[in-house]
């Protein structure tokens, strides 16, 4: 597996969180392996990975609910080893929010302030101000069950933010919301973070959330980070096959490298389909490889002439059209090998009327496809 690129810990001045060789196992199972990274002050940092990869374990170590087996963990330069969760300058937004149902909105937000011994008038002012900032002015007296899903979300965040933590940890807070609301809250959360300027460490298994909101995303797998970078970097320059497959939709092919031409390689699948692509990492002729090309990186047309000249072109038969407005795709089988591919349909709806069985032509730039050692 190619080496991930952990951001090296820098001076405490710039970084709110530094994680150094953090390690945690449950019995024989290693949940978090020797992890090192740091999070820049004021940034929105996401950890993206499939279920069970260790995200929650990592976050809970930062919050202090789980003690690491090894390594260090510094917040604002101070080691947090042995510091109880209620004494760490971090707050957490839980997956199911964990709002206190027996308290009103105002009481929920004031809870942490009161624990700090802040007197009720001062606390009240802060609560009012905080509710204003999350767009729920005057909701102090409401019961939790009177709130909509999105409003609950905002109260949960307000409850943490009011304590002005150095770090806000969020564990898939949008997971329980329905689709439309989730779309909406993504944008709202990003804006909120930009306004308050608090450092967010955000966990999700939904790549769209991570891409839309984050300044930096770490892609996690089996307790390690595969790649840390900006959303664009992950999307356009995946460092590992895992990242290429996990972030964004992708067509995936397996085969053996036939030819190499500088940084580009030609891979041939078992069914005989030959595909050019960018190689990532060490890879040479004769090695088995996996190749990814994104549905939206493929140009499609009824005529071969519609395709941009220069790129390798293929013809194919339409298997089925998955019409979904702006996200429509077509499933085709390449003509000679029969290999199935998904291709995104143009946004304009130009090809929305494709019919099953029709012949189409497609092409892609080899520089937009990546090949990894298998």
């Amino acid at each position: 597996m190619p080496n991930p690129l952990p951001a090296a810990p820098a001076g405490a001045g710039e970084h709110d969180l530094e994680v150094l060789s953090l390690h945690k196992g449950f019995a024989a199972f290693v949940a978090v392996q020797d992890l090192s990274f740091s999070v820049r002050r004021g940034s929105f940092f996401s950890i993206l990975g499939p279920s069970g990869c260790g995200k929650t374990t990592l976050l809970r170590m930062i919050a202090g609910f789980i003690a690491p087996d090894g390594g260090d963990l510094r917040i604002k330069g101070q080691s947090m080893l042995g510091v109880a969760p209620n004494r760490r300058p971090v707050n957490m937004v839980f997956q199911h929010l964990a709002l206190f149902p027996m308290m009103s909105v105002g009481e929920n937000i004031a809870y942490g302030l009161e624990r700090r011994g802040i007197k009720s008038a001062a606390a009240k002012a802060k609560v009012t101000d905080m509710l204003q900032r999350v767009g729920l002015p005057g909701s102090e007296g409401k019961r939790i069950d009177q709130l909509s899903g999105g409003q609950k979300q905002r109260v949960a965040i307000a409850r943490s933010l009011v304590l002005e933590p150095a770090l806000l940890l969020l564990d898939e807070p949008l997971g329980a919301l329905d689709l439309k609301l989730r779309e909406h809250m993504k944008v709202e959360l990003k804006q909120l973070q930009a306004e308050v300027g608090t450092t967010f460490v955000y966990i999700t298994h939904d790549q769209s959330e991570a891409l839309v909101m984050s300044d930096q995303v770490a892609v996690m797998n089996h307790g390690r980070f595969e790649q840390v970078g900006s959303p664009q970097q992950l999307y356009y320059q995946p460092a590992t096959a895992f990242v290429a497959g996990f972030v964004g939709n992708n067509n995936r092919f397996e085969g053996r490298v036939e030819t190499r031409n500088g940084e580009q390689v030609l891979m041939r699948t078992a069914q005989g389909l030959g595909l050019w692509s960018q190689r990532v990492g060490a890879l040479d002729v004769g090695q088995t490889a996996v190749l990814f090309v994104r549905p939206e990186a493929i140009e499609i047309g009824r005529q071969a002439s519609e395709l941009p000249p220069g790129d390798p072109a293929f013809s194919a038969t339409v298997h089925s059209v998955l019409f979904d407005g702006g996200n429509s795709t077509v499933q085709v089988n390449e003509a000679t090998s029969g290999a199935p591919l998904h291709i995104a349909l143009p946004l304009t709806g130009r090809l929305a009327d494709l019919q099953t069985g029709e012949t189409v032509h497609f092409a892609y730039q080899p520089s937009q496809a990546w090949c990894f050692q298998a």
Partner: protein, 286 residues
């Protein structure tokens, strides 16, 4: 079947009639007890001899009404006193047990969990005699070896309280455990994360959450203690709670004053029921 399925009228009517009959069956005995509290006769049996309030208010040579019946009133007080202690002990220990069983792992936990449920299936009489026998042994031992008279181990209210507590705490434990099991522990973590100490978490989050089930368990404990007979009978000393007194009266000479006190109990529990219904919005039974 359920309302969303079309049912033949016969089935719908049949079930309705059955349920109506069921509730009649449930309430007829209480109804006659209540009615005969007003019978102008010396015995709580038919025939109907006319209406009187004597069995509530009278205080004459031949008739002692509820209010004048010191012995009865005293036993009512005794029952309440016992029930109060049983309630406090049961809810207290039941809450501890719930935390123990839901929150801790330790060797032998399964055995303890099983033992916890055992008193539910031990007949009350046996519970009573075994506690009586065991307490006597200790008391006799203390008496013989040290000349120490451990009064509370002799039949009497302390033993009655312990005996009732012994199985009522099981019910409290089950009720509170069930509620604690449903409790979302991330609420505690959230509070802890917001800076609360462990004690504050318990006090501000967990216990308030458990409060309804603790109140429920308390109501249950009080009522079960109040109406217990089997265990109490074996452990009672010189001041009988209401049920034991009533049993004695029924053997030795019942007057409708028993119906009167019964009616009082019915009204008290109906009021309690109304209060519960009032507190609970529709559809949130559990």
């Amino acid at each position: 079947m359920i309302p969303s399925l079309p049912r033949p009228a016969s089935q719908r009517f049949g079930l309705g009639a059955f349920v109506a009959g069921f509730f009649v069956f449930l309430f007829v005995p209480l109804l006659v007890v209540a009615v005969f509290a007003f019978n102008d006769a010396a015995y709580p049996t038919p025939p109907w001899m006319g209406f009187t309030l004597d069995w509530f208010a009278a205080d004459s040579d031949t008739r002692t009404g509820l209010l004048a019946d010191g012995e009865l009133m005293r036993s009512l007080g005794t029952s309440a006193w016992v029930a109060l202690w049983v309630t406090v002990l049961s809810v207290g220990v039941g809450t501890c047990n719930a935390f123990l069983l839901e929150r801790f792992e330790f060797p032998g936990k399964n055995a303890i969990a099983l033992l916890t449920m055992l008193p539910l299936v031990i007949p009350g009489v046996i519970l009573g005699i075994s506690i009586l026998a065991f307490a006597s042994r200790i008391a006799n031992f203390a008496d013989e070896t040290w000349g120490l008279e451990l009064d509370f181990l002799r039949p009497g209210l302390p033993l009655v309280i312990l005996g009732q507590f012994c199985y009522i705490v099981t019910i409290a434990t089950l009720t509170i455990s069930a509620s604690l099991r449903r409790f979302d522990r991330t609420l505690e973590e959230a509070a802890y994360n917001l800076g609360a100490s462990r004690l504050a978490v318990l006090w501000t989050i967990t216990l308030p959450y458990l409060r309804p089930s603790m109140i429920g368990a308390a109501a249950m404990a009080f009522l079960m203690s109040f109406e217990n007979f089997n265990t109490t009978l074996m452990l009672v000393g010189s001041d009988p709670p209401l049920t034991v007194l009533m049993y004695g009266r029924m053997r030795e000479g019942a007057t409708p004053v028993l119906n009167a006190i019964s009616l009082f109990l019915m009204i008290a529990s109906a009021l309690l029921a109304l209060m519960l219904l009032w507190r609970k919005p529709a559809g949130t039974s559990d």
